[in-house]
């Protein structure tokens, strides 16, 4: 077996010790199975107690195109995206040149030794990996070879950085849902690679990992789509209709994965939920609307193009006042845009979705635990407010794994809203009107189809109607109805999740952001603090805005509105909600397919002061 041997660096590199504070970039080809190997590395690092962030940059195809997986380790607990990368794993010939070129000076490169490598940089250390040979030596079944090949770099990385092999093994088991056989098969290859590296590689760099504590204890690692799926399952979801679309598909697919375990009657084997793959997004939301009307907790999940297709039905849900939940795991738009790149460009279109005078409740989870929580909240709000609730996640939050608080078991009882049963209808003795504002909160009382009382029936419609749900073209009925809907929207302001506010008494400036930008904002704040710039921070968690958001805006001289889209959409909405404070609001928006970096935010704020 001819085995590549490490060349000594042409020129010695300053060996600076770096423990738990660098980024690893793994370059592979799509469809080669690197999801597993990268996931295993991340999980092992997480279990070692190291704060770690993972970003998968994959192309919109199935096999063969370049893919990068960036693992950031941050001893200080920063989880935003980091722009520099120190450890480069090169497994893809098509990108090897540029991959090597972008390594930070002083960094290291691990490369599949069968790749063509042109010029070598003098400021980085190179480690070859004899991938082909090691795979061949393992004598694997043909179909598995390509996949297991990736375990070679897992082994070499583990060896060079000092990742605990026990954790690697545990992560493999986890990855294969506890199935020992495939885990072992992969672990064997890891071990072979480690053995080879021990024998053949001489470490001449300072990058190392070390177990640590203080961050990951009590935390879990999960992606937002899985969290949302579980939240829905614990939130009492009874119907999930969906149409596949990246990056939302795994949300519904995780419902399909977990619900059969969690929501089946153990005696009968029958399900307390239904999952329907619809023929398109119009049908998906139509099913949700029909189900919500009939009393189910129904939801659908999609991304930008699907949400656009839902516009007409969104208006129906709004105006006929039907509980409905739509998850939009955002990706880059306009149009088909970049389906595998993250962004937050659907804030405006979600808030105003549909023609006519419509505005919707929109929630913005920031991390997996909140995805879980808001999946529950969304149903409660939808049923309480009898309306459409949109939950806006994004590709980064939805598809990448993140360190997160464990999901909190919902303590509040389910809020099924104002529903009258047959007795209640009877008790009202014919005075019930579906759209009467009895309580002054703009919310009427509804009945469900199947309520065994002839007076319980009403006719739901998207046309103008009076308090009794009867078609009406009278101006007074129309205006009274829209005024009530506005009252209801104001009620929504008091019910939606409050923002998370971190005030700093020294701060003259405030930051407003939302969703998955949280990590980067926090890191930017500490960078700014280090430069002597104190900031307060409000993380918006819902629209419409509540008074606490108005108060925050009032309290600072300048407010930077940080978001991952091109047009500054949240900035736009805040301007219209607080026109009196509009000049204070400064838009800090960027949309390049990557999640925001702390650097972009910190520099933008420093420059905008």
């Amino acid at each position: 077996m001819t085995i590549a041997v490490q060349e000594t660096p042409v020129q010695p590199v300053d060996v600076l010790e770096n423990v738990n504070d660098f980024a690893i970039n793994v370059a592979t080809a799509n469809g080669s199975g690197s999801q597993t190997s990268n996931g295993v590395l991340v999980r092992a690092l997480f279990k070692m107690g190291i704060p770690v962030t993972a970003k998968n940059l994959f192309p919109s195809n199935i096999q063969g195109l370049p893919t990068w997986y960036i693992i950031r380790l941050s001893k200080d607990g920063h989880i935003g995206r980091r722009e520099t990368m120190e450890v480069q794993v090169c497994m893809n010939g098509r990108t090897v040149a540029e991959d090597m070129a972008q390594v930070a000076p002083g960094g290291i490169v691990l490369y599949d030794d069968s790749l063509p490598i042109a010029a070598r940089r003098k400021d980085i250390v190179y480690y070859p990996m004899p991938v082909k040979e090691l795979v061949k030596a393992a004598d694997l079944p043909f179909a598995l070879r390509d996949y297991v090949a990736n375990m070679v770099y897992v082994g070499v990385v583990a060896h060079l950085l000092g990742i605990d092999l026990v954790e690697i093994e545990a992560a493999l088991l986890w990855n294969f849902d506890g199935k020992a056989k495939p885990a072992q098969l992969n672990m064997d290859m890891v071990n072979r690679a480690v053995a080879w590296a021990q024998e053949n590689l001489q470490k001449s760099d300072g990058f190392r990992v070390e177990p640590m504590s203080g961050f990951n204890e009590g935390k879990i690692m999960a992606d937002g789509n899985t969290a949302a799926a579980l939240g829905a399952i614990f939130g009492g979801m009874t119907i999930t209709s969906w149409y596949p679309i990246t990056p939302a598909s795994s949300l519904a697919e995780n419902v399909a994965k977990y619900a059969p375990k969690l929501r089946v009657d153990p005696d009968t084997g029958q399900a307390t939920y239904a999952i329907i793959q619809a023929e398109d997004e119009l049908a998906a939301i139509g099913m949700v609307v029909g189900a919500g009307w009939a009393g189910a907790r129904a939801m659908t999940s999609t991304s930008g193009p699907g949400m656009s297709l839902m516009a007409e039905f969104a208006g129906l849900a709004y105006f006929a006042e039907i509980p409905a939940v739509v998850w939009n795991v955002q990706r880059m738009g306009p149009s088909t845009g970049l389906p595998t790149r993250t962004a937050q460009p659907d804030i405006l279109s979600a808030y105003y979705l549909s023609h006519g005078d419509c505005r919707h409740v929109v929630l913005f989870p920031a991390n997996p635990a909140e995805c879980f929580e808001f999946a529950v909240t969304a149903f409660d709000l939808a049923e309480r407010l009898q309306t459409l609730v949109l939950v806006l996640s994004d590709l980064d939050l939805g598809m990448n794994v993140h360190i997160s608080e464990p999901f909190a078991y919902p303590e509040k009882p389910m809020d099924r809203g104002k529903v009258l049963d047959a007795e209640a209808v009877k008790a009202l003795g014919g005075t019930w009107g579906r759209y009467k504002d009895v309580d002054g909160d703009g919310i009427g009382y509804r009945t469900l189809p199947g309520t065994p009382n002839p007076q319980a029936a009403y006719f739901a419609r998207g046309t103008g109607h009076n308090e009794y749900a009867v078609y009406s073209e009278r101006s007074e009925d129309w205006e009274a109805n829209l005024q009530r809907l506005r009252r209801k929207f104001d009620t929504a302001r008091t019910l939606v999740p409050n923002p998370i506010v971190e005030t700093n008494d020294d701060a003259a400036i405030g930051i407003i952001s939302l969703g998955s930008n949280d990590g980067a904002v926090q890191e930017a704040r500490s960078r700014l603090a280090a430069q002597g710039i104190a900031t307060s921070y409000l993380r918006l968690r819902a629209l419409p805005i509540s008074t606490s958001i108005r108060d925050f805006i009032h309290s600072y001289e300048k407010i930077f509105v940080v978001e991952a889209n091109f047009d500054g959409q949240l900035h736009n909405i805040l301007t219209t909600e607080e026109p009196a404070q509009a000049t204070k609001l400064i838009s800090l928006a960027k949309c390049d397919g990557l999640s925001l970096s702390a650097r972009f935010i910190a520099e933008g704020i420093a420059a905008g002061m």
């Binding site: 009492g236 119907i239 929501r263 307390t272 009939a294 199947g450 029936a457």
Partner: protein, 357 residues
């Protein structure tokens, strides 16, 4: 609802027997099955179909509180407001009623779902959802009130307009019509029938049979639009229908009963058993058509289309395929009626998951 299908069927039998009485088995009068006054044009075929629905519901003794009336947008889609006033109804959006019905039925599988759509609603904007409802064997009665035009928007051609049809404002239609029954059949519908709003007996028999069927039941009812498409040259006019209707068979509906009544099979008569035990008796007229054969149905539909014949009757019926609800394997309590403890897994279940994550 705790009544079994058989008990229900027995009640229906009794109800059918007392069809001449003033009240049905629920003690209700015909008037109790009315809705709000119709706002359609006088003489509109849709109104007569509404009347059929009220009659059938009364005769079968349907509990209106367990019925949902679904529709899209159009003159036809307005009609659910005009019948079964004690039933919940949903006038949704144009062409997308099937998805709304799918959601509602899944939420509460005990409900009897009667959907109505126009030909524009069903075959123009709505053909996509129509096909997929067929494919899912969505358990509902889907009535197409087919007049070959868009009534509510004042008389444009729909996708079922005749090739060569002339309309006052739009001139001559040059496109071939979509055939609702053929479309249903191609997409695997399990109950496919056509009728004529003017054929009271047949429409009612088909509706009853449809309500005893498991899965999707489509009845394409030619329903003249007296305002925009009722001239004699239109195949969707009263005149044309009355003159040209060719029933495939004489249909009668026999409700399910406890004690078997022996029904002899005569030459030219066919008996098909429906899901709830009811039977439909077909006295063949013109054709030797076997409604349990898909091939025969294709054949008769395509031939009648090519010959320009207005064939009515039950083209196809199959009780074999599972309906959508069976595929979903749902708990017997409707999803909408599950309580919080049935809907929320335990604290321990979450803890276990969290330990693994």
């Amino acid at each position: 609802m705790s009544t079994t299908a058989q008990e229900m069927a027995a009640k229906r039998m009794a109800a059918a027997r007392s069809a001449t009485a003033k009240t049905n088995l629920l003690g209700l009068e015909k008037n109790d099955y009315k809705g709000r006054p119709s706002t359609l044009c006088k003489g509109c075929g849709h109104d007569s179909i509404s009347q059929r629905i009220m009659n059938v519901a009364w005769e079968l003794g349907l509990d209106q509180s367990q019925v949902i009336k679904m529709s899209g947008i159009g003159c036809s889609s307005k009609t659910p407001a005009y019948y079964l006033g004690w039933s919940h109804g949903f006038n949704s959006v144009h062409g997308r009623m099937p998805s709304v019905a799918t959601g509602a039925i899944t939420a509460n599988q005990k409900l009897t779902c009667i959907g109505v759509g126009g030909d524009g609603d069903t075959a123009s904007i709505g053909i996509g959802q129509f096909k997929h409802a067929m494919r899912r064997n969505l358990p509902m009665l889907y009535i197409v009130e087919n007049n070959g035009v868009y009534g509510l928007t004042k008389g444009q051609f729909s996708a079922t307009a005749d090739d060569g049809q002339v309309l006052k404002y739009q001139g001559v239609n040059q496109l071939p019509p979509l055939d609702i029954c053929l479309e249903a059949l191609a997409a695997n519908a399990t109950f496919v029938a056509r009728s004529f709003a003017g054929d009271v007996k047949q429409v009612e028999a088909l509706m009853k049979a449809a309500l005893s069927h498991r899965g999707i039941a489509v009845i394409d009812i030619i329903s003249p639009c007296v305002t925009f498409n009722n001239h004699d040259s239109s195949t969707k006019s009263y005149g044309y229908g009355k003159e040209h209707e060719i029933p495939l068979h004489e249909l009668s509906y026999v409700p399910a009963i406890h004690d078997e009544i022996e029904i002899d099979e005569y030459e030219g008569e066919l008996e098909v058993e429906l899901h709830d035990g009811a039977k439909i008796m077909l006295k063949k007229l013109d054709e030797n058509h076997d409604p349990t054969s898909r091939s025969a149905a294709f054949d008769v539909l395509d031939r009648s289309r090519q010959k320009g014949e207005f064939l009515t009757g039950l083209f196809y019926l199959s009780e074999e395929s599972p309906d959508m609800l069976e595929m979903l394997n749902l708990t017997s309590t409707p999803l909408a009626q599950l309580n919080a403890s049935q809907l929320r897994p335990s604290r321990e279940a979450l803890a276990e998951l969290m330990a693994w994550f």
